[in-house]
Symmetry: C2
Subunit: 233 residues, 2 copies
C-alpha cells in the first residue's frame, strides 16, 4: 500500500490542453489577417517561440500569452496593430478567468481514495497563482494534504518533494496524463506511476515510444480505486 498518492492537475484532474488549443485557433484567425504566410504554420511558430522562451518564462498562461504577442509581431513583420495585440492579452486573461472544469469522475474518485485514508497531494507545474486559484476553485482542496506548484517536473524536483515530506519513493504513487512529466522521472527515482492519457497531448509533453516499462496505464481516473485494490492490497 502506498503512503502518498500524488496527482498531476492539468489534464488529469481538470481540462486544460483543450483550452490552449481553442486559444491557438483564435490566435491563428487573428494573426492571419495581417500575414501573407500559411495559417497552418502559425501554431508551429508559436510552439517554437514557447520553447525558446521557457528558460525565461517557464510554463503557464502568462508565458503562453507573452509568446503569442512575440510570435504575432514576428509573423506579421510588425504589421499587426497594437489594438490586436491587446486582443491577444485579453485572450490570455480569458484563459485565466475560465472556470475549472473537472474531468469526469474526478471528484468521486478523489473522495473515495481520501476515505480509504491515502494521503493525497497535487503536484503541478505552471503559474503559481493560476494553479493555486484552480485548486481553490476545484472544490477538492480539503482532500489534499499538500499542493506543490513546481517550475519543472523532473527527477530533481520530485526528489526535493519526497525529501521535504519525508516520503519513501516505494510508498509514492504518481498519477498523471504526461509520460514525460508524471511517469518517467518518478519511476526513475524508484516510485510508481499510473499513466491516464488525456484525449490530446501538448507537443512538448510527447515522448518516443516507451514500452510501458515499470508503470501501468488506465483509460480513466474512475478505474483507479479498483486498480489499487486489485494490485496493491
Amino acid at each position: 500500500m502506498f503512503d502518498v498518492i500524488a496527482f498531476d492537475a492539468d489534464d488529469t484532474l481538470w481540462h486544460n490542453e483543450s483550452l490552449f488549443q481553442e486559444t491557438e485557433t483564435k490566435f491563428e484567425e487573428l494573426v492571419s489577417k495581417y500575414s501573407a504566410g500559411e495559417a497552418g504554420n502559425f501554431r508551429q511558430r508559436l510552439f517554437e517561440t514557447e520553447m525558446r522562451n521557457i528558460r525565461y518564462f517557464g510554463y503557464g498562461v502568462k508565458s503562453f500569452t507573452l509568446s503569442m504577442v512575440e510570435t504575432a509581431i514576428e509573423i506579421t513583420d510588425g504589421q499587426i496593430p497594437a489594438a490586436e495585440i491587446g486582443q491577444l492579452i485579453a485572450l490570455g486573461k480569458a484563459m485565466l478567468d475560465q472556470p475549472v472544469q473537472l474531468l469526469d469522475q474526478v471528484e468521486a474518485t478523489v473522495a473515495e481514495l481520501a476515505a480509504d485514508s491515502y494521503r493525497l497531494m497535487v503536484i503541478t507545474k505552471g503559474d503559481l497563482l493560476h494553479q493555486q486559484n484552480k485548486v481553490n476553485q476545484s472544490g477538492l482542496t480539503d482532500y489534499f494534504s499538500h499542493i506543490e506548484v513546481v517550475s519543472e517536473k523532473d527527477e530533481p524536483t520530485y526528489q526535493t518533494i519526497l525529501r521535504k515530506y519525508n516520503i519513501s519513493p516505494r510508498q509514492f504513487l504518481m498519477i498523471g496524463n504526461s509520460v514525460k512529466s508524471d511517469v518517467l522521472p518518478v519511476v526513475a527515482l524508484g516510485g510508481r506511476a499510473v499513466h491516464i492519457p488525456y484525449h490530446t497531448t501538448w507537443q512538448h509533453e510527447l515522448v518516443a515510444d516507451h514500452h510501458s516499462n515499470g508503470f501501468d496505464r488506465l483509460e480513466h481516473i474512475g478505474q483507479l480505486p479498483q486498480y489499487l485494490r486489485s494490485h496493491y492490497i
Copy 2:
C-alpha cells in the same frame, strides 16, 4: 532563541526594485514618443494596470511585462507600433536575464547565522521560475533548508508555511524590507519580525505609519547577528 529565521528575497537579499524602476524609465521614454500625454503620469498608469491585473497575473516580471504592453496600448490609443511592443517584451526578458546582485554583507551574514545553527529559509513572492533561478544564482542555496515561493504574503500564507514545517510562531523570525508583506502578517500570527528597509519601496508595499509596534528595525542586514546576540541569547 529562534528555531527558524526566514528571509524575504527581493530587496532583502538582492537588488530588485531598482531594476523595476530603471525599466519603468525606459518604458516612459519608449511610450512618450507615441503619446501626447504627460510622461510624468505614465508610471502611475502602469501602476494602476498592475494593480488591476494582480488578480489575473500575480506578482513578478512576467506580470509586469504584460502590464507594460497593456498600458502602452492604452496610453497611445493603439498608436504604438508592434515593433515597439516587441521592445517592451525584450525589456522584460532583460530583467529576467539580469544577474543577481546581492546586497552588501548578505553573504557573510547568512553564512554566520547558518554557522550559528539557525535553520534558515527564504520566503518570497513572484514568478516561481524566476525566483528559483535567482536563489540558484545567488550562491546562497546551501545555507537555506527551504525555499518557498508564494503568490501572496499574507497571514494565511505564513500560517500554511508554519504548519507545513511544524514551526511554532514564537520560534519564527522573519526578516524583510516590506512592513506590509514581511512584518505585519508575521507579527499578527505571534511571530517576530525585523524590518530592514531598502533604499526605495514599491508603491504597492507602502503602508500607513505603523509605529513599530511588536517589531524592530535595523538599518542593515549586517547588523542582524549582533542584534540576535544582544536580544535573544
